[in-house]
Amino acid sequence: MGLRGDARSMVLFIEQCLNGLQFGLLLFLLAAGLTLVFGIMDLVNLAHGSLYMLGAYFAATFAALTGSFVLGAVLALAATLVVGMAVEVIAMRRLYGRDHLDHVLGTFGLILFFNELVRLVWGPAGRTLPLPDWLSTSVQIFPGVYYPTYRFTIIFVALAVALALYFVVMRTRIGMLVRAGASNREMIGALGINIKLLYTFVFGAGAALAGLAGLMQTPILTASIGMGENILIVAFVVIIIGGIGSIRGAFIASIFVGLVDTVGRAFLPTLLKLFLTPAAASAAGPALSSMLIYLLMAIILVVRPEGLFPAANR
């Protein structure tokens, strides 16, 4: 009996770890764009979450129009890319070189704008994105233990994107420019690189990544107004912990934060019952598990004020 209980909690633990990994990888898709934009353009973009939201809404609409999940996702990615580049050209471009407070305010204004725009276009009710049959199955990971195929798909897609991103940044000419931009902006401009185009490209790519994260989350959580804001704050926690401008830091911190958050929410209340009375534990549990990642960030910042992996030369 006891052994079966142990086995069951072990299975639960593995499931939660996989969920944490999946959440962490989604966070990475958001954080990668955020940290690149921050590292290269020195821009704090609160409106990054709006692009995440737009990705989700676009996907829901395009999938419904075309009748195909994959086609809808691809069209949504393209649309988010275009919106991202347009936002860069119209608004963000004018914010470079301003101080961070201006960025916070200006992009806060954009959040209000996009939330209201979505309410105007799609209405206040959320949108769902139904999964195709071939994704709504489960995979057996252990004898008798199943895990949703779709969550595995998220893990694989996000890992593939992370690898592709690594390859682009480390092995291609554009990646070289991106890295050069992150370490010394003025210099690559002075060397005759079309820095405006590079910025638009980086911003658009970051937007598309955010859109990808948003659309992959939608079948699980549905698209809703303001969905980008809470996860955006978590993505900021990620890039602060990882060290601003560092993609490697963002990757490690994403998975760390994803695991801590998910596993913490699942097990902290039970863990607290070992030390506290059941009443106190059930009161403190949810609060403490929501606070966990912020607590983690505060501790890391107190010990290392520039994050775990500060990008060089910044």
Partner: protein, 314 residues
């Protein structure tokens, strides 16, 4: 000799006279709408003045200032719920508790700089937000209704006009305090640390202690604003310290004019009147307000106060 009769000072004086006459206007047209709106404006103006003290004069951009607003409100709400209606106990305790939180948060946050500071203050505010959400005894997510405003012997705060004038008097007192602080030796050190902290340290000022003291004073004043807000709405809820509320406070300060004594008051009036006016114009008012905010950031540095002063202020 610099003349004090400038366009800007006339506008500020007119604004103060207008604020003083609001109850008369309300009585004249025979409804309380303007009085209630302006009570809210005056209360949030106190919070904006407190944020301006650290942000405008000290260069410390706190993205979690709504936390102290919430703490002040919750102290009043919880004491009222627990059968302690005396304002002589509620208000000082609200100030002390906000101050203690500011001391703890400031001591940890002030080790970081720039965007890390913005984000760590946000993280602490999020933690406090989640604590409030978990206070199941005090309404948790739904908030807590206050059935009796703070009792001050002969002073009847449930009289709307009396309460308005109490708030207005406190606003003026707070502005006076900030004015005295900023122009004192202490204020010089704070402003010096904003423009060049290393130099201030080199001359021998322990800037950390000065900045922390300033941060705590700001938290205490914001806590006062929270205590007033709880009395005004007769309700406290975690929404009082949602991160968008911190964003609103930043908007008020920047819209009105950072580092200007009356700027935050102008900002609070402008922000809340705009919100009210646009909301009447269209249900989708944020679609106008968002881009407007961006435009202020881009084209009106120094805020409204800067425009009034004819762009002469830095």
């Amino acid at each position: 000799m610099k003349s004090h009769v400038t366009f800007r000072n006339i506008v500020v004086a007119a604004l103060l006279v207008m604020l003083a006459l609001v109850p008369l206007y309300s009585a004249w047209i025979g409804n309380n709408f303007a009085l209630i709106l302006f009570t809210r404006i005056v209360i949030l103006a106190i919070a904006a003045v407190s944020l301006n003290l650290i942000m405008g004069y000290g260069g410390m951009v706190s993205f979690g200032h709504a936390a102290y607003l919430g703490i002040g409100a919750y102290v009043v709400g919880i004491l009222a719920y627990e059968g302690v209606p005396s304002g002589f106990l509620q208000w000082p305790l609200a100030l002390v508790v906000s101050g203690l939180f500011a001391l703890l948060i400031g001591a940890l946050s002030l080790r970081t700089r720039g965007v890390y500071f913005i984000m760590i203050t946000l993280a602490f505010a999020q933690m406090i937000y989640y604590v409030a959400v978990s206070l199941s005894r005090y309404g948790a997510d739904d908030g807590l209704t206050i059935y009796r405003r703070s009792q001050f012997g002969g002073l009847d705060l449930s009289n709307k006009v009396v309460f308005y004038y109490v708030c207005l008097a406190l606003l003026l007192l707070v502005i006076l305090i900030v004015w005295r602080i900023v122009n004192s030796r202490f204020g010089m050190v704070i402003r010096g640390a904003k423009s060049n902290e290393r130099r201030m340290r080199a001359i021998g000022f322990p800037t950390f202690r000065y900045r922390l003291t300033c941060f705590v004073i700001s938290g205490v004043i914001c806590g006062l604003s929270g205590a007033l807000l709880a009395n005004h709405t007769e309700f406290v809820s975690p929404a009082d310290m949602h991160w968008t509320r911190s964003g609103d406070l930043i908007i008020m300060v920047v819209l009105g004019g950072m580092g200007s004594l009356f700027g935050p008051v102008i900002g609070a009036v402008a922000f809340l009147l705009l919100e009210e006016g646009l909301a009447r114009l269209t249900e989708y008012w944020q679609i106008i307000f968002g881009p407007l905010l961006l435009a202020v950031v881009l084209y009106a540095r120094g805020g409204i106060d800067g425009l009034l002063a004819g762009g002469k202020r830095g």
